[in-house]
Structure formats: C-alpha cells, structure tokens
C-alpha cells in the first residue's frame, strides 16, 4: 500500500495509543471531540487492553464518525504507533497519550501555523496535569518562538523534552524520511528515535510559547524491573546515530553525544540495581567507541554529566563500585551471613528468639550494636569473640568474657554470632566463620534485604 495514496481530505490525524487506561480515557476522548478544528480524525488503537478501554472507545466511535477504532493483540507502543501512522490520512499527524487531555484550540492553532508557514513540524509547550490542576512548563525556553528554523542547526532543540504529543508533523515529511517507531515489545523510550529523527531530518520547524497538551505526570520514575526495558535507550540512540551517519549530518554529533549520554545516565540511575552493571557495561562500550571516533567533546557536556563520563572512561569498575556499594556488598557478603534473609524488622525477631549471642568484635561497633538492640539482647550476650586473644585486650567487658573465636566452636550450633567490626575487616571474618561451620551469623550493620 502506497501510503501517499491516502488523499489528504483531512487536515489532522490524531493517533491515540490505548492500553488499559479506562480511568482517564473518557476525559481524553472528550477533549479531542471538543477540538475547534472540524477537519480532524481520531485514530484510536487499542493495544490488547484487558480492562474496559476498548468498549469505551467503541462508544465514542458510535457517537462521532471521526473516531476510528482499531483493536489488536498486545504488541507494544512502537507497533501500535506504526499501525496508526499507516492508517492515518491527514495532512498532519498529531499524537495524544490516552491518559492526557488537549485544550480545545490545540490542533486548530497548530495546523493553521503549519499551513501558513509551510512547516514540517509545529511544536508547543505543555502543561503538567496533576490533581486537576495545570502547571505550565516551558519546554522550549531556549528556542526562538514564532519563527521558522532548521532544527538540526539549533543544538538547544535537542535538549528539550521529547514530548512528541505537543506537536504536529507533516505526514508526507514522515513518510518520505521513513520516520517511524522502533517496534520492540515491552520496550520504552520509543519516542526518542521518533522525535530525534524528525528533528534531524526537518528543514522547517516552528515553536510557539503556548501550551495546549495537559500531560498527566504519573510518578513512574520507579525502578525499571523489566528485563526488556534495560537496554532500550541504547537501542533508540543507535537508531539515531545510524540516521545521522546515513544522512551525513555528522556535524551534529558533538551536541547529540551530550544529549545521548545525559539520557543514558538518567536511565542508569533509574534502572533496577541488579541490572546496573550490565547497563554500565554497554554504556561504557559505546562511550569508548564514540570517544575513539573523536565525538566526545567536553565543552558540549553539562558539568555534572562530564564528571561521570570521565570516570566511566577512566575507571568504570571504580565508577560502579563507588556508587553501588550496596550491590557489591550484597553479592559478596550474602553467602556468608543471614543478612539477606532478614528484613530490618526481622533482626529484632531473630535476636529475640536467640538464646545465646556472641558478639564478634570487642570495640566500638560491638557497643553500638548492644545499644541499638538493647531490649532484644538483654541478658543474652554470653561472650565477645576476637580472632586471637592478645595481652592488651581486656579479658571481659562488663563481666562478659572475651575469648578467641576458636573457643566457641563446641557451641557453634547454639550460638548467634554478630560480627560487629569495621566494614573493611568483615569479609575475612565472615569467610572464616563460614568455613568453621558457623551458620547463624549476622553482619552488623548491614541491612541487605531490599
């Protein structure tokens, strides 16, 4: 099917990807049906919703002929958007997320500016929409308004938020440049390669200060658990890098690299701890390669980003260890103590049910432990242990004997040992206890259960 055969009888096609948004969908659809422009169609694609989203869409379709509804099995945002792009026949394409809403004059304003200025892209600012209130966000604060420009010649445009739902795109422009969405199911960040390729390929863009789209910001800045989402951001930028090379836009690399690695590091900070090392590994490989190609230029990076980039290039292992002590500890220590089995509150319970506690370490940390768990350890501490008794050590602390660890071997089945010494010295002690057959060991204060 030649996509250009769809005659442009319609000014704007709005693509609305839908997946399990029954709660917010009516508000979104109402705002779309209230658009002041008449020549508009709404392409709603249900990506295999399991809630009532599809039936809500079908109701809207009955009410208004401009609403087209397509339903398909769940295959992800990228594929859903591409289905919409293929069906759309408007002169311009808009995108609205199904949990957001659009102010009534949005598409009329954007379309009229696009037509009168003959632009590929017209983009506006947007509002954050939380608890029924709108908060204006000036996404294009460093961009000249109301004037047509070539985006790839303006580095600042690449620093703005992707927000592909605050713009309209000339459909012939997207088609002739083959700008579509990357289709990995379960992936995220699929707006990145779409947005950046559009900005790179366009010769005519216009920004306005007004905001029409109300973006319902959900606090899903939570950790990324899903394996499929771990490397997506890298895949998206690979697509962008290839595009730059194929089109010969290499002059943009210096500032595009800054954008890329800023995004990578943001993702690195968000990704689940257990994937961080893997992500860092990929990021480092890419960084080394880009650096070798001479594309990493310090001046283009924000300071706080550059410090981290430098560290990754010079000493990636240290970079990981400095920032992820907890993960390394977890993996290193976990086989030798009970810590990874106990929540913080579980410590109290295990101390309560222990009859006989020996504290390994007769110093500051031991005292700290006793005072922190004073109630749970009352009258149960039967001894202190040190690796080897020396003449300078006291033989008892407040009446409780101090002995070499070997002296406790006979009772090892009954004792709970709390290793309360400096972190740096813990590992050899834990390993030794493990090899001697002590199984009830806690490393203080190491709360590994997260």
């Amino acid at each position: 099917m030649n996509k250009m055969d769809n005659a442009s009888e319609v000014a704007v096609s709005v693509i609305i990807p839908v997946c399990n948004v029954e709660k917010f969908l009516p508000e979104c659809m109402d705002s779309l049906l209230s658009q002041t422009i008449n020549s508009i169609e709404f392409i709603c694609i249900d990506d295999g919703s399991s809630d009532d989203s599809l039936s809500i869409l079908n109701d809207y379709q009955k009410r208004d002929k401009r609403v087209k509804v397509i339903s398909k099995p769940n295959s992800g945002y990228g594929h859903t958007m591409n289905v919409g792009l293929d069906i759309a026949r408007g002169e311009y394409i808009g995108i609205v997320e199904s949990d957001d809403k659009a102010l009534p004059e949005m598409f009329e304003r954007l379309y009229s500016l696009a037509k009168s200025n003959d632009c590929d892209i017209v983009k506006s600012n947007f509002n954050y929409y939380t608890n029924g209130e709108l908060r204006f966000y000036e996404n294009h604060i460093d961009i000249p308004y109301d004037t047509v420009f070539v985006p790839r010649e303006l580095p600042a445009i690449f620093e703005t938020s992707m927000s592909i739902w605050s713009a309209i795109y000339r459909r012939s422009f997207l088609v002739s440049n083959n700008i579509r969405f990357h289709e990995s199911p379960g992936a995220s960040y699929q707006d990145v390669s779409f947005n950046l390729r559009a900005l790179l390929a366009s010769d005519s863009m216009l920004c306005i200060k007004d905001a029409f789209l109300c973006y319902r910001f959900d606090n899903s800045a939570s950790s990324v658990y899903s394996r499929k989402k771990v490397f997506c951001i890298i895949d998206e930028f690979d697509i962008v890098d290839d595009f730059i090379r194929t089109r010969g836009y290499d002059q943009v690399f210096p500032y595009m690299m800054a954008v890329k690695y800023r995004h990578f590091l943001e993702h690195y900070d968000r990704v689940h701890l257990i994937y961080k090392y893997a992500f860092l590994d990929r990021m480092k490989t890419e960084l080394v390669s880009d650096n070798k190609a001479g594309l990493i230029i310090k001046d283009r990076f924000r300071d706080y980003v550059w410090t981290r980039i430098e560290k990754i290039l010079s000493d990636p292992e240290a970079f990981f260890q400095d920032e992820n002590r907890e993960y390394i500890d977890l993996v290193d220590y976990a086989p030798y103590c009970m810590n990874a089995s106990l929540s913080k509150e579980g410590w109290k319970r295990i101390l309560e049910t222990s009859e006989s506690i020996v504290i390994y370490g007769a110093g500051v940390y031991g005292k700290k432990f006793v005072s922190e768990y004073h109630n749970e350890t009352k009258n149960k501490i039967t001894g202190f242990a040190v690796t080897k008794i020396s003449e300078s050590e006291p033989t008892n602390i407040e009446g409780i004997p101090v002995r070499g660890i070997d002296d406790y071997l006979d009772e090892k089945g009954q004792l709970l040992i709390v290793v309360a010494i400096k972190k740096a010295n813990q590992m050899p002690v834990l390993k030794n206890l493990h090899s001697l057959g002590y199984k009830r060991v806690l490393s203080y204060p190491c709360y590994m259960f997260q």
Binding site: S226, D281, L330, S341, G346, R349, T353, G413
Partner: protein
C-alpha cells in the same frame, strides 16, 4: 481446635522398595490425627498393591488409583480429597522424623498468624552420607516478604512443596499447574506464600529427601520451556522481590538454560536444533544482563552462547565422539569408565541398557571418591584385575591429564583402552 487433622498427600509412581520406608514413617508419627492420601499415579510395579495393603491395615490411610498424568495431577487429586485442617506433601521415596508433624501442628497453633510451617531438611544419598540443609537449632518466624525471599535465597529453606505444612485453606481455588515438568514447586509456593502473613521455621525435626541413582542421570531435557517461563514471569513480575532473591533466581535460570542446552546437544543436536537456538538466545539475553556473575564466565556458558558456529560444533562433535566410544565399548562384557565427572556420566548414559554388560567406574588410586556413581560401583585402579579379553577401559578424562594415565595403564599391561578427545565443556554448572 485441639487435635486438628493433618492431611498427608503422597504421590506414588513406581516407588518400589522405598515406599514402605516412607509409609512407615507416616503411620509411626507421634501425631496421630492423620488423613493419609496415597495417590497411585498409574504405577506399573507393585506400588499400588503396597498402598492397598497399608490402607487395609490403617484406617487413616486412603488410596486413589488413577491413570498416569504426572506428580502435579496426583497432588491435585490429593488436595481435592483432603479433609484435614492442614496439608503436607511427602514424596514416596522420602521419609520424615517421627515428631515432624507434631512439631508443625504445635508451632502453627502457637502462631495464629502463620499459615505455613517449614521443618528441617536433610538430603540422604543412596551411596550413603547425608547433608543438612538450612540452619539447625534456629527457630524463626518469617514475615511474608522474608519467606518469599527465602524461596530463592535458600539459606533456611528452599522451594520444594515437601517438608512444609500448610493450612489447607491456602489451597482453596488453587491447583498445581499440571503442564510444567520442573519448578512447579516454585510456582506453587510463589503463589501460596503470597497468601500468608507469616511462615514458621524450625529445623529440629527433619524431612529426609532421598537422592537415589536417578539423581545422577537426571534428564534435563525435561526442563520444558514452561519451566523457564515460570522463572521469567516471576523475575519480571512487579512484585518487589528483594535484590538477592532476584539475583539467585537469575543465576538459577542461567544454570538451567545452560544445562538444558547441553542436554539437547547430547540427545540430538539436529532434532532439537530449534530448541537449542531458542534457548541459546534466551541464555545470551540473561548473560547480557548479568555480565558480572561468576557462573557466566565459565567456559561452558561462554561456549554455549557463542555465535561462532565452530564453537557450537564442539558440542556436537564431542557428544558424537562419546557415543561412538560407547558403541565401540559395547562389544566387551565388562566396561570400566575411567573417571567420575560429568563426562563419565554422559558416557554411561550413552551405553545401551544391556543386562549382559557390566559397567563400573574406575578412579586413580590417589583420588578420593564415593563407593558409587550413577548407581554403579567405583573402584580404585589397583583394586581391579581386569582380564584383557573381556574388559575395556573408556577414558573419561580431559585431554590434559589423560595421556599420562593411559601410558601408565599400558605399562601395567592393559590393552583395551578407548580414548576420547574430551574438551573442557563438562563442568558442572554450580
């Protein structure tokens, strides 16, 4: 409710000689209020009869005979038929300490918020010897999060259904999935544990898990895809599984995939080519996510995920060589397999089951080893006096150490030695 009944569900399938030991340990329990359900899953030996005999002798025992549909279906039938307030599962070749159930009931009654009791676990090997699992002497009450974590962490207990006593109501509207062949215990416990507030642990009384000859020849091709799907779905679930549990889960996944792929190569690399490719891709994805995990950097795993066709051909060639050697050896009456590693196991499994052929294992005099491997006797080289007409040695040693030993054997006068070019792909993936 002072004397609650405990339903003991025992799936039975060709349990033969171990079944009586199991049943005796149940009927001799100090806790008398039992509802024992023996589910005979279409046994072909005399297990069914043994069940009936026990049932006649003891009113607490009932027997269900059914067609063979697998252990999960047997458990489900048992659950349906159970009338106790509590439920526990015992495998028919295992047994439990005499006070196991009494301790469970007592602890569960003292802890009304606890829905599950977990006892101690001891692995008993057929060749003798045992290993204690968990932390003896420690009684601890886990909250739900900690308990689920422990299913993967394996410090106190593991994910088996056996050795745990559950409130029967936890199994309401739940059936063990009957279409997955391994890790269905994990799946069930993952579900059931999510329904409780607390889990009580006490290792004083033990469940004895019997490891018989089949453990060494356990066929990993039965790791169906659905098994690994269970891992995947748990791993990707939004449930806030603690870090270490996720790590352990993934490490297990990596191990199982690697084992499965290697087994598929052993069985038939042509027939299973599609499965091999699919699993290798999944393994590669996992390895990409955990580049810092020690298991991942073993030669075996690296070889399995290599894109280089030549590397993968190593597996095909190696197993071909093993099967060919086994065939050559089969003209002899007594086959000695030299070595007791994983390669030796593959050689053993490649031999056809012919009652006229005797198979034994041999180790160097300086090697420490158990008396049995794969259920067969293990000898020291100096202990045997093979006669050159009827005996053959099949060397299951790596190339590096094989030559010296073979030279030594030739000097001692042994003639029939089959050597195999064995590469470093036979590591057990821990």
């Amino acid at each position: 409710m002072n004397n609650p009944t405990v339903s003991v569900i025992i799936p039975v399938y060709n349990s033969g000689k171990y079944l009586e030991r199991c049943l005796n340990s149940i009927i001799n329990q100090s806790w008398k209020e039992l509802d024992v359900i023996l589910v005979d899953d279409g046994s072909e030996d005399n297990s069914g009869e043994i069940c009936d005999i026990f049932s006649e002798r003891d009113r607490r025992i009932k027997v269900i005979h059914k067609n063979n549909e697998g252990v999960a279906s047997a458990r489900n039938r048992g659950i349906e038929a159970a009338i106790g307030e509590y439920i526990t599962f015992v495998d028919s070749d295992d047994w439990i300490d005499v006070s196991f159930i009494e301790a469970a009931v007592s602890i569960l009654q003292q802890n009304p918020d606890a829905g599950i009791f977990v006892g101690g676990m001891e692995w008993n090997y057929i060749e003798g010897g045992s290993r204690l699992i968990g932390i003896i002497g420690l009684d601890y009450t886990f909250n739900r999060e900690e308990a689920i974590n422990e299913l993967f962490r394996h410090t106190f207990f593991r994910w088996e259904l056996c050795g745990k006593v559950y409130l029967k109501e936890l199994f309401d509207h739940f059936k063990c999935p009957e279409n997955i062949s391994m890790a269905e215990d994990l799946y069930c416990n993952w579900f059931i544990f999510n329904r409780v507030k607390q889990v009580c642990y006490s290792a004083k009384n033990r469940y004895h898990y019997f490891i018989n000859e089949d453990s060494a020849t356990h066929k990993f091709t039965v790791f169906s895809e659905t098994t690994l799907d269970v891992y995947d779905s748990i791993f990707d679930s939004e449930y806030k599984l603690p870090y270490y549990a996720r790590i352990m889960l993934m490490r297990n996944s990596i191990k199982f995939y690697a084992y499965r792929i290697r087994e598929l190569y052993f069985e038939d690399s042509v027939l299973y080519a599609d499965s091999i490719k699919k699993d290798s891709d999944r393994l590669k994805e996992l390895v990409g996510l955990f580049p810092d995990v020690p298991e991942v950097n073993t030669g075996v795993i690296k070889a399995l995920i290599m894109d280089d066709i030549d590397q993968r051909e190593v597996f095909v060639e190696q197993f071909k060589a093993i099967k060919s050697a086994a065939l050559d050896a089969s003209v002899f009456v007594h086959i000695y397999i030299y070595g007791i590693g994983l390669a030796a196991e593959y050689i053993y499994r490649s031999l056809s089951e012919d009652n006229k052929i005797k198979v034994s294992f041999v180790v160097s005099d300086s090697m420490y080893s158990a008396d049995k491997y794969c259920g067969k006797d293990v000898y020291r080289l100096s202990e045997i006096k093979p006669d050159n007409k009827n005996c053959v040695f099949v060397m299951s040693l790596r190339n590096e150490i094989r030559t010296d030993i073979v030279n030594n054997m030739r000097m001692l006068g042994y003639n029939n030695i089959i050597e195999i070019d064995l590469r470093n792909i036979y590591a057990r993936i821990r």
